[in-house]
Amino acid sequence: MSDTQQGDWTKPAAMAIPKGGFFKEKVEQGRYGPIFPKSPACYGFTIIAKIIPGREEAFYEHARNIEKAVAGQPDVLAVLKLHYLRWVLFPIKGETYFMYQGIFDTDFDKYTEDAVALFGATGLKTVFENLEGFPADWKTNPSAFVKFVRDHQCPSFLEYGEYPFVSADEIKKALKLKAAFSNMLDQMQ
């Protein structure tokens, strides 16, 4: 269960995280295993995996597809309760690696099956199927999917939030309120 920490958003916060990514004395269990802790930068993951040689173009094509998918249906990724996603390709000793970094308002474990379904619906699979070791039966085997993600997760050892623990929904509500006030002031002119 997510433990919403009602911190003071006006006070930036940093959290040093032990080796391995867990605070041993309070590891929360999810359906698919232990859950990485929430930090001032919310929940998140950093997945690093080697791509199958020669498949770089699939990643660039995928980027264009996701851009189109989100433009066509802006709430296509809503279920993941995201703040940001970052996708990076980088070389190590002549081989290409892929880094996928996400910042969420919920632990990934909760919506694993929804994420797997999204993979199929948005074509996200085209990227992961080009990674070495990605399970061929990912679509029908969420446990294998989760295992791959966990095996390739590189937990943070430090996370920082300028406005800690604030959810994307709260930010959007605040911006809506600001817009409403602005509109109200316009009407008063």
Binding site: M1, S2, Q6, R31, Y32, D105, K110, Y111, K139, T140
Partner: protein
């Protein structure tokens, strides 16, 4: 297309039972367990049988096994390994994730349900108390004849008055929202959604995602089977009524508070369609009482609070992939009715129910972990399900209202988990397979 003659009846049918009994069993040796199963499987009716004869039958029997129970019957390790991880671990090992902590922890469970020696359940639904007594005597005789078979505990079921509609001890009408399975011929009531692929509930059929995958082996064991999550929930009726009196001065205000916790008036009328005043005729009308959504009709929860039991258990159009999260509920109430004006008598009463699904982790555990017990469901911040969530007195419950919402702090626990288990519900042929495992080998 559904093999009704091979599916245990509980999965597809509701029986007109007013009483019943659950018997929880342990097998000290495989031969004894198989002898018991050989005899009782003759009594376990298929869906086809019950559909044909439910009007004249007086009792209905269902049999299911824990993973330890399958092993105790002699299922080999290779086959046992093909079952899903959460079923192998069992409900006790999953307690923390399910929210079974504090008072709800398996350490406090009754009837030997938290023990690895729990191997099987025999579910008896009976038309009346006399038939239940007769069946129980028969079953006791059978157990006595099967060496190594032991009854860990039993639970008598009783419908609560008035008997003309199903409801729990708190008085809420039950059985209002059940998914419909494709191929049963059943027509969904308005608002229920289209029929779902059978694989969502019955192993061996396509599910909402495609053809069946990763089924336990051998096929004869899993085909037409399912999983059942058993929950024995004590209902604290006195505490619940005290709470209503504390938060409502008049009878009408108390009824509204009760409705706001559930999302429906106790009559069954949904607040989306009857936001101000109860409408018992609507509550009883299956063609109308489920016909609503949330996204358009109640996005902010002014009618049905965002954290209410009904909204958490079935968020309808406000959750993704709902067709993969649906569950079939069966079960009954137990314990004596507490008359409306009587003080709490300290006698245990509640609900003893099964959640039936094709995947415990995707359906039951998701509902329990996310919908019931995620404190931040719908960005609520510090709430859990007000009826069945893990409540420890530190959480709140918010009732949206213009201009200012009502916030109840320190919500008490109205229910306590007194037991639970994961069972595999084999098909009729699989029961025969299990009963004759010695011959197979």
């Amino acid at each position: 297309m559904l093999e009704n003659e091979d599916i245990q009846h509980i999965l597809l049918t509701r029986t007109p039972a007013l009483t019943g009994r659950y018997e929880f069993l342990s097998f000290r040796n495989a031969a004894g367990g198989r002898a018991w199963l050989s005899a009782i499987r003759e009594k376990a009716q298929s869906a086809a049988e019950v559909m044909a004869s439910v009007e004249k039958d007086k009792r209905w029997v269902t049999v299911a096994f824990t993973w330890n129970g399958l092993r105790a019957l002699g299922v080999d390790e290779r086959s046992l390994a093909t079952f899903p991880e959460e079923f192998k671990q069992g409900m006790v090992a999953r307690a923390e994730m399910l929210g079974d902590t504090g008072e709800n922890h398996p350490d406090n469970w009754v009837g030997g349900l938290a023990s690895p020696d729990l191997h099987a359940i025999a579910i008896l639904f009976a038309r009346d108390a006399a038939e239940r007594a007769r069946c129980l005597t028969e079953h006791d005789k059978l157990v006595a004849q099967c060496e190594g078979v032991e009854t860990l505990s039993g639970l008598d079921l009783e419908a609560t008055p008035p008997f003309d509609y199903a409801h729990d001890h708190f008085g809420y009408r039950d059985r209002l929202s059940q998914p419909v399975i494709e191929g049963t011929g059943e027509v969904p009531t308005p608002g229920t959604g289209a029929p779902l692929k059978p694989g969502e509930f019955i192993l061996g059929y396509p599910d909402e995602d495609g053809p069946p995958a990763n089924l336990p082996q051998p096929e004869i064991l899993s085909r037409n089977g399912s999983y059942m999550a058993y929950r024995h929930l004590q209902e604290h009726v006195g505490r619940f009524r005290d709470f209503l009196r504390e938060h409502g001065k008049t009878r009408e205000e108390q009824e509204l508070i009760a409705a706001k916790l559930m999302g429906r008036w106790r009559s069954g009328a949904p607040l989306t369609l009857a936001p101000e005043k109860d409408d018992p005729a609507l509550g009883a009308d299956l063609q109308r009482n489920n016909d609503f959504n949330y996204k358009e009709m109640d996005p902010h929860g002014y009618a049905v609070p965002l954290g209410s039991h009904m909204r958490r258990m079935n968020p309808r159009d406000t959750a993704a992939n709902m067709n993969r999260r649906r569950m079939i509920r069966r079960g009954a109430t137990y314990g004596p009715h507490l008359p409306e004006d009587a003080p709490e008598d300290g006698v245990e009463r509640g609900i003893a129910a099964f959640v039936i699904c094709g995947s415990l982790i995707r359906q039951f555990e998701f509902a329990q972990n996310v919908w019931t017990n995620d404190r931040n469901f719908h960005e609520l911040g510090n709430e859990r399900d007000p009826i069945i969530g893990a409540q420890d007195g530190t959480l709140e419950y918010k009732i949206p209202k213009r201009p200012i919402r009502k916030k109840i702090t320190g919500l008490p626990a109205f229910t306590t988990v007194r037991g639970g288990a994961y069972f595999f519900l084999p098909g009729i042929k699989a029961l025969r397979y299990l009963a004759t495992l010695d011959e197979v080998h």
